[in-house]
């Protein structure tokens, strides 16, 4: 299966009727895109195939519930803390445990920092080269290529990234797979000094953040004129909400149509009950359908479309300005980068606000009382809506576990969108570099995370 070096396609391995784009690059994990071609050379369908599987849902069976979150954080390097958080909330939900107020505050603060950090890595290393160097040779279309010609841009991005990761270092100990979130709360709470230092770090990168936003707006406009294949997304966009506003840990899940139709708001439990998983024999990824809703999109674009909270006035202002320019909802793949940077600003504002609101009573944790029970959690990870549910016995050992990840929700719309893109750009059994670039550009708008997706 290692690429033979013959180019982009290896149709002979696939029975002659399909071309294959492998491996996909600048995405998290290993996957390919397979395009079926009829005898007349017409494109049939394109499908995204995840090629790796680790089996976390099986691995946690029989484990003590209190140890499960730290193991499940290893599902994903970009969204790991959100898996850990979701696992903790699922345990707490099963045990009917309320976390102390200070722990809730610290969790939310960390979640915003993790989200910002994850998006900044995504922008810098995965997404930006498509926008800054769209017509360049693939050999230089990467962050190093940008650094060679646009040093200042990379410098700004890495400066903001460093502010987020150093703040996380200071507050959580580790920027990736931190251990501080535990069932019932957090393992410790930061003092005023750490909060002040983190606040100074974040405040210091405001200018860079503004400059990055301007750059992203500029290159998005430029790319919009260049990309002929951009088609609107069809289906619903979806994210967790509280009182109609998008939230990281919501009480409800809201889905609104890209085109015509009505907006639906479901309590988290009803949402969970409506999820139907549909395995396919050609991928380790399992599609997650939400009732009879059809294809859905979760992730940054969906959240931006649902609107931010009033705690982040700058982000909300820029979001409103963006929808004025591009219309609402944002429904094209090239708007993905704008969505990412808007969410970074939102994370930055929320983190700064929370750092000022350190509670006076600092109780980090309570011990959940383990009972034979079921628990579930719906949270927003950087890549979109993430669901964890578990069942444990009276001694707290896991008897079943289920994870539904953002890429599973996006799977149907992703394949629908890739098929549309392939029909516009793929010409017969020859997959040109241009067509490959278009397919991957469309793919990256869904922010696919294969480790999360197949877990």
């Amino acid at each position: 299966m290692v690429d033979t070096g013959v180019g982009l396609t290896d149709a002979s391995d696939l029975g002659g009727g399909r071309v294959r784009l492998y491996p996909l690059t600048r995405v998290m994990g290993r996957a390919d895109i397979e395009v079926s071609i009829s005898g007349e050379g017409q494109v049939g369908e394109a499908r995204f195939r995840a090629l790796e599987y680790r089996g976390f849902e099986q691995m946690v069976l029989g484990m003590p519930a209190f140890r499960v979150p730290s193991m499940l954080s290893r599902i994903c390097g970009a969204c790991g803390p959100f898996h850990q958080l979701a696992a903790c909330i699922a345990v707490e939900n099963g045990c009917s445990t309320d976390v102390p107020k200070a722990a809730g505050w610290f969790r939310e603060l960390l979640a915003w920092l993790w989200l910002g950090q994850s998006h900044l890595v995504n922008i810098t290393y995965l997404a930006l080269p498509d926008f800054v160097l769209p017509m360049s040779d693939p050999a230089v279309r990467n962050v190093v290529g940008i650094y060679a010609v646009e040093h200042e841009t990379v410098h700004r991005l890495t400066t903001v990234l460093a502010a987020f990761s150093e703040a996380l270092d200071m507050l959580a100990g580790l920027p990736v797979h931190p251990a501080v979130v535990v069932p019932g709360g957090v393992s410790y709470l930061p003092d005023w000094s750490a909060c002040t230092k983190a606040s100074v770090l974040l405040s210091g990168c405001e200018h860079e953040l503004r400059e990055i936003l301007r750059l992203v707006e500029m290159i998005t406009k430029r790319n919009a004129q260049m990309i002929e294949s951009a088609m609107p997304f069809r289906g619903h966009y979806m994210a967790s909400t509280v009182a109609g506003r998008q939230a990281l840990v919501g009480e409800t899940v809201t889905a609104a149509p890209f085109q015509q139709g009505e907006t639906r708001e479901m309590p988290a439990r009803d949402f969970y009950d409506s999820i139907v998983e549909k395995p396919v024999p050609w991928s380790y990824l399992v599609e997650a359908a939400v009732g009879d809703m059809g294809p859905v999109l979760v992730g940054p674009l969906a959240r931006v479309n649902l609107g931010f909270d009033t705690q982040a006035p700058w982000a909300e202002l820029e979001r409103a300005r963006t929808t004025e320019i591009w219309g609402h909802p944002l429904d094209r793949e090239f708007l993905f980068l704008v969505a990412l940077i808007l969410e970074v600003i939102r994370a930055w504002e929320n983190a700064l606000l929370l750092l000022e609101q350190r509670p006076k009573v600092m109780e980090p944790c309570v011990r959940p009382k383990l009972v034979d029970s079921e628990g579930m959690a719906v949270v927003e990870s950087p890549r979109g809506t993430l669901v964890h549910s578990l069942r444990m016995d009276a001694e707290g050992f896991i008897t079943s576990y289920r994870i539904v990840s953002p890429l599973q929700f996006n799977f149907a719309m992703l394949n629908q969108h890739l098929t549309g893109c392939a029909r516009k750009t793929v010409g017969g059994m020859e997959l040109s570099e241009g067509a490959a670039q278009n397919l991957q550009f469309a793919l990256r708008a869904f922010s696919p995370c294969v480790p999360c997706g197949t877990h």
Binding site: E52, M63, F66, Y125, A139, A179, S187
Partner: protein, 283 residues
């Protein structure tokens, strides 16, 4: 120099950690060449490289082929992260394949067992950790590129931890800190299974400094690796008995039920061969 990165069965956390090295990393890559890296560049085939940063364990047949290909075409391979070094969390438990292989669409089949990277190829340098801190990966890469000795550290997590030990007995072990742990007290004294005594340091004990137990993500300490007479379990029992005053037999009995937690990152490499210990970067 030609540099590559590759991810086998992994979460992507080691790449995430590498990327957090930021501008110095990008400048270093700019001074050299990236031959392939599916996380960074659009190259689609594995080409000869001077240094490969390889993350992840070998879980399926595709990863097996990729590992062999890297072994054939690369001069030096750095195993980054505990999955690559020990098999890591993917090797923690045996699992059933999710569905019968159809053969119809070339989904890579799963191997019977997860394998660490050195089961297939020679490794120049090991950087255990889940993930290793950004500076450890960056410095290790630089040391191999520039040909100087990599930084080494043979201490344990305990040797970097600032918490103090109280010599008092522990009645039972558990996985939860209750309503929090005083900032200066050893977590073992609170009955929390902290693997700091038997885990390789170099991480500045960041987890214990934040009230969380060490879960052993950096793998066995140099002492554990030094002889077949040592293991994480036996050394842990001895240390805890000394710390708490509990009898070794009693401590061993209490810990037997926690063996899986003890070997969460190293189950696929329980003896953790001595050669790993000789070539570990950053301790």
């Amino acid at each position: 120099m030609y540099i590559a990165t590759v991810a086998l069965s992994s979460c992507g956390g080691c790449h995430q950690s590498l990327f957090l090295a930021g501008e110095p990393l990008i400048a270093m890559l700019c001074d050299n060449n990236i031959s392939f890296s599916n996380y960074m560049v659009d190259a689609r085939s594995i080409s000869p490289s001077d240094v490969v940063l390889a993350t992840g364990a070998i879980r399926n047949y595709e990863e097996l082929e990729i590992a062999d290909e890297i072994g054939r075409t690369s001069r030096k391979v750095i195993a980054v992260g505990s999955c690559a070094v020990y098999g890591g969390v993917p090797g923690a438990r045996d699992i059933e394949p999710p569905r019968p292989e159809t053969g119809e669409a070339l989904i890579p089949g799963l191997l019977d067992e997860v394998q660490p990277l050195d089961s297939r190829i020679d490794i120049e340098l090991y950087i255990p950790g889940c993930p290793p801190p950004p500076n450890l990966i960056f410095e290790a890469l630089r040391s191999v590129l520039e040909g100087y000795g990599h930084p080494s550290f043979d201490g344990t997590v305990c040797s970097e931890c600032t918490r103090g030990v109280e010599h008092k007995g522990v009645k039972a072990w558990n996985h939860h800190p209750g309503c929090g742990v005083p900032s200066m007290l050893c977590l073992l004294n609170r009955g929390l299974l902290c693997l700091g005594p038997v885990t390789r340091g170099g991480c500045h004990a960041v987890c214990t400094s934040k009230g969380a137990v060490c879960i052993g993500c950096r793998g066995p300490s140099a002492m554990v690796l030094s002889s077949q007479l040592h293991s994480m379990f036996s050394d842990m029992v001895k240390f805890v008995s000394l710390t708490t005053g509990n009898r070794e037999e009693k401590t061993a009995g209490q810990m037997m039920s926690m063996l899986k937690s003890l070997y969460m990152f190293t189950r696929r490499d329980p003896v953790t061969r001595a050669r790993v210990g000789e070539k570990v970067a950053g301790g």
